[in-house]
């Protein structure tokens, strides 16, 4: 493979990405992001949710528990570090797209530090050196560019999302610069590591995830509400996040709580 070809592929994808953005930006939805929940396809989403819960019960949860309890913490952490390091170039690209230069330099420094001093990303040396962690994705880039959150969707396997964050996931999948810089077998290491990191997280937060999926009266509604609140919080979306000043979240002003 010549060197110019991955670069060309990357460029093509960046162009494609812009057309996706335009489509996302034009996507009209009647419920703006100030609505707490906009879920017009609830019936379809509930079917996907039932599928996901079933999948978790039969495969993901047992596998994750096994994975977490079999592997020593050090190895588990190394695999998660490796996966997270491979994600840094994508974070860098998104930071640049958001004109977040501080974030861009944080992810660049982290990538270089962990790749070189952290033996190819197996160790999180950057954190030990006190470097702040920066995380972002194309969904956040879309938010910064003013795209609407869109309707709520539950994706098979991946779980709760919005139309905006789903667009982000797809774009991120095709624009991680690393996947163009690496040849065939190496790219699978990344996928494998991310899958393992996912299992690791499922194992570590077993009790929290179990409490949502298996112990709540309506696990679909709980997962939806928790995801939307958390996602808006992480984006810093004050307009739709329920702030402490919101009378709706002040029980002393709530007529039904008196």
């Amino acid at each position: 493979m010549s060197l110019s070809s991955p670069v060309k592929l990357f460029a093509i994808n960046v162009v494609l990405l812009f057309s996706t953005v335009i489509v996302a930006g034009c996507a009209k939805n009647s419920g703006g992001s100030s609505d707490i929940i906009y879920d017009p396809n609830e019936d379809r989403n509930r079917k996907v949710h039932a599928f996901n819960v079933n999948l978790d019960k039969k495969f993901v949860r047992p596998l994750a528990t096994e994975y977490s309890s079999t592997l020593p913490d050090v190895i588990e952490d190394s695999i998660s570090n490796f996966a997270s390091n491979l994600g840094q170039p994508s974070i860098l690209v998104n930071s640049v797209l958001q004109v977040d230069l501080q974030g861009a330099s944080l992810s660049a420094t982290r990538f270089v530090t962990n790749t070189i001093l952290g033996v190819g990303g197996l160790f999180n040396t950057a954190e030990k050196l006190g470097l702040k962690e920066h995380d972002t994705d194309f969904g956040e880039t879309l938010y910064k560019w003013g795209a609407e959150e869109g309707e709520y969707v539950e994706l098979p396997l991946l779980g709760p999302a919005t139309v905006r964050s789903t667009t982000g996931i797809i774009v991120d999948l095709f624009t991680n610069p690393l996947s163009y810089a690496m040849n065939s077998p190496e790219t699978y290491y990344g996928t494998l590591a991310s899958t393992s990191a996912g299992l690791s997280a499922r194992g570590r937060y077993t009790s929290t995830i179990d409490s949502i999926l298996y112990e709540s009266a309506d696990s679909y509604a709980q997962a939806r509400l928790i995801y939307l609140q958390n996602r808006r919080f992480l984006l810093g979306d004050e307009s739709s996040a329920l702030s402490a000043d919101d009378p709706y979240s002040d029980p002393y002003e709530d007529p039904y709580a008196q």
Binding site: E133, A217, D218, N230, F233, D245, S249, P251, A257
Partner: protein
């Protein structure tokens, strides 16, 4: 007659005492709000560092909730509009069940903080009182934000809501209690019984 006067005097005295008692508590200051959360956080840290069993820890968290949270107002908010059709005794039974339910549920979340630490970061004034932000640092994961909303409107300085990474406890529990009531066909007593069984 004498009896009557005494009663009247007593009521007058009692209400003025009540007024005196209520006055300072309304004026919750930022310092007092932080002090409450500082002490709450110290308690949580000592429990998660104690190395006790899960059951023992959850019992301790229950005590913490009882001491630091305005459980009745939280329970009534969670019940929301559905609470209007409940009788007084059903409401009382619900508040008791709710206290045990949230202590267990959120006690378990705090239990995952084992080996970690919570520290108070900042505070600001809000409508009902103060918002106090804390940072929870856990082994092997990025630190996250736990926010407490503190008010003295109950007559005591207590927290009445908690946000974990933006997830509002009251709002989330209002949805959950609503779903629990729906599942029981709107039957209050059955919902309370279910709540007692829930984790």
């Amino acid at each position: 007659m004498l009896n009557n006067i005494t009663r009247r005097t007593f009521i007058a005295l009692a209400s003025s005492l009540l007024a005196i008692a209520a006055t300072p508590s309304w004026a919750l200051t930022q310092g007092e709000a932080r002090k409450l959360v500082d002490s709450l956080v110290a308690k949580i840290n000592s429990v998660i560092g104690s190395g006790k069993s899960e059951a023992a820890m959850i019992k301790e968290f229950q005590g913490i909730f009882r001491r630091y949270a305005d459980v009745p107002i939280m329970a009534q908010y969670a019940l929301g509009v559905d609470g209007r059709s409940a009788s007084a005794s059903q409401k009382r039974a619900f508040i008791t069940a709710f206290e045990i339910y949230i202590s267990r549920k959120y006690g378990k979340r705090f239990r995952e903080f084992v080996g970690g630490k919570i520290e108070v970061k900042s505070s600001r004034k809000i409508n009902a009182g103060y918002e106090v932000k804390t940072k929870a640092s856990l082994r092997g994961s990025a630190p996250f934000e736990v926010t407490f909303l503190v008010s003295s409107r109950s007559g005591k300085d207590l927290f009445f809501n908690m946000f974990i990474e933006g997830v509002n406890l009251l709002l989330t529990e209002r949805a959950e209690i609503g779903a629990l009531l729906d599942r029981n066909g709107g039957n209050f007593d059955k919902m309370i019984a279910d709540l007692k069984k829930a984790d």
